[in-house]
Symmetry: C2
Subunit: 272 residues, 2 copies
């Protein structure tokens, strides 16, 4: 109702696909040996747009490492008051609370962009965690990034107007989907931003008039990324920076070795 079929099932576990762990930056940052062990417990699944992977307070059954799709974290006070507080793409994972030894999900998780993900059973994941300090270390850093994002989100939501926040979300989704085309209706955007659909319509129209985006019937295209960055609040740049500083340079104890980003992209170039 509020968003496309929240109960839509996740696609069935797939067999081989072209996707691989390489697509997930967290997995890529784990030392090969650890990763191999982890991957033996993983299966590839297709995340279906709108699927609800878990509900606030419910038990976590699987941990997901997106390798194409992305997931949004939603904090809901009740069905009228809800707000997206985090976004998980190829740079992250769903289920960090297991790291803290907590088996319940703190937030609702909704698939926002369809695509594949690797998943692993919660129990197997916990076993892997308890065996591997490096795994813990790497994922903890991500947990920290998520926390920083949460705090920033709170402030951003409080102080910035819908239009800037919309621009920010579109950019974040572009980064996570790695595509300038995003499938999202105003309705869904309103759900995420915690505002009325009418408010989204107004903001989106304004962005479209300025030729920064184009949209129609649930498909948004980013035309001018640089312009959109300018139209967004500084939180977009800040968020990208936090991530870059803590993770994209390798993730594993780089602080000691000063490694560089193997993927070569400079996340700081938040550019167009």
């Amino acid at each position: 109702m509020d968003h496309p079929d929240p109960r839509a099932a996740t696609g069935a576990p797939g067999v081989a696909t072209t996707a691989s762990w390489r697509e997930n930056l967290l997995l890529a940052a784990i030392p090969a040996a650890e990763r191999r062990r982890l991957l033996t417990h993983c299966e590839t699944v297709e995340l279906a747009f709108g699927a609800q992977l878990c509900e606030q307070g419910e038990r976590i059954r699987h941990v997901y490492f997106p390798i194409g799709g992305f997931i949004s974290l939603i904090s809901a006070l009740d069905e009228r008051s809800r707000l997206e507080v985090g976004l998980i793409g190829i740079e992250g994972m769903l289920g960090v609370s297991l790291l803290a030894g907590v088996g319940d999900a703190p937030l609702r998780a909704l698939v926002q962009g369809s695509g594949p993900a690797l998943r692993i059973e919660a129990a197997a994941f916990c076993r892997a965690l308890s065996r591997s300090p490096v795994l813990r270390y790497t994922l903890m850093r991500y947990l920290y990034v998520l926390m920083s994002q949460l705090a920033q989100m709170a402030t951003c939501t409080r102080f910035h107007v819908v239009e800037a926040r919309l621009a920010r979300w579109l950019l974040m989704m572009r980064d996570r989907a790695r595509s300038d085309e995003i499938n999202l209706t105003h309705e869904f955007l309103a759900y995420m931003l915690g505002v009325r659909r009418a408010g989204v319509t107004r903001a989106a129209r304004s962005l479209q008039r300025r030729r920064l985006i184009r949209y129609s019937r649930g498909k948004v295209t980013i035309l001018d990324g640089a312009g959109l960055v300018r139209a967004s609040c500084e939180c977009y740049a800040a968020g990208a920076q936090i991530y870059e500083r803590l993770l994209s340079t390798g993730g594993r104890r780089r602080s000691a070795r000063g490694q560089h980003n193997r993927h070569g992209r400079n996340p700081r170039s938040i550019r167009a």
Copy 2:
């Protein structure tokens, strides 16, 4: 200017006081042997109201375990747009990011209620962490609680009116200060809630008229706690519950043994 002298120094390390580790619930939850080792590195300090213990992005020098005072975590986009996103009292600690292997503070930390705290140097704390799985485990659960609070804070700030949020804060501070008298000006409250002082005045006056609180010149007294709970948003109850479920039952690996929440409350009843 915006709040009482942010650069006020923390009181000098004290020697023996009547306060003890027993006053901090996290420390109390750690097995005795571990705690003893940790305490050898601790010193007692007096937190001075308004002191800034660390700034967003700066290096963490000490970890604090309040045993009387309490600390607020503030996310600042710039000096006009800032918002309190967390509150740390005897139930918590300042410096969790070290758990994630990150040496920089994600948020500004301001002393909100004067009182003693135990503190330990960051390096010593990290060493202790790396030696003790139980310590990690216990504190990780707290990290999780903080995260949940952050997410809830974002939603609360977005959807609830100033008066309810004010009531909530007063209650949270009462719990952490364990006193119905709280030293806080409207100015400072406005700083935390991210609203104008005038907004706080109006809300406070309304609460006072309803005989829930009384205040004058920087001192707020809670007259009717139960009434104040009713005037607050459900986030107060929800936050207390999260904490209780995860930490107050002992904190140490109870989940691994399949124990149940000894307090017997149903966590699902988050909506009144």
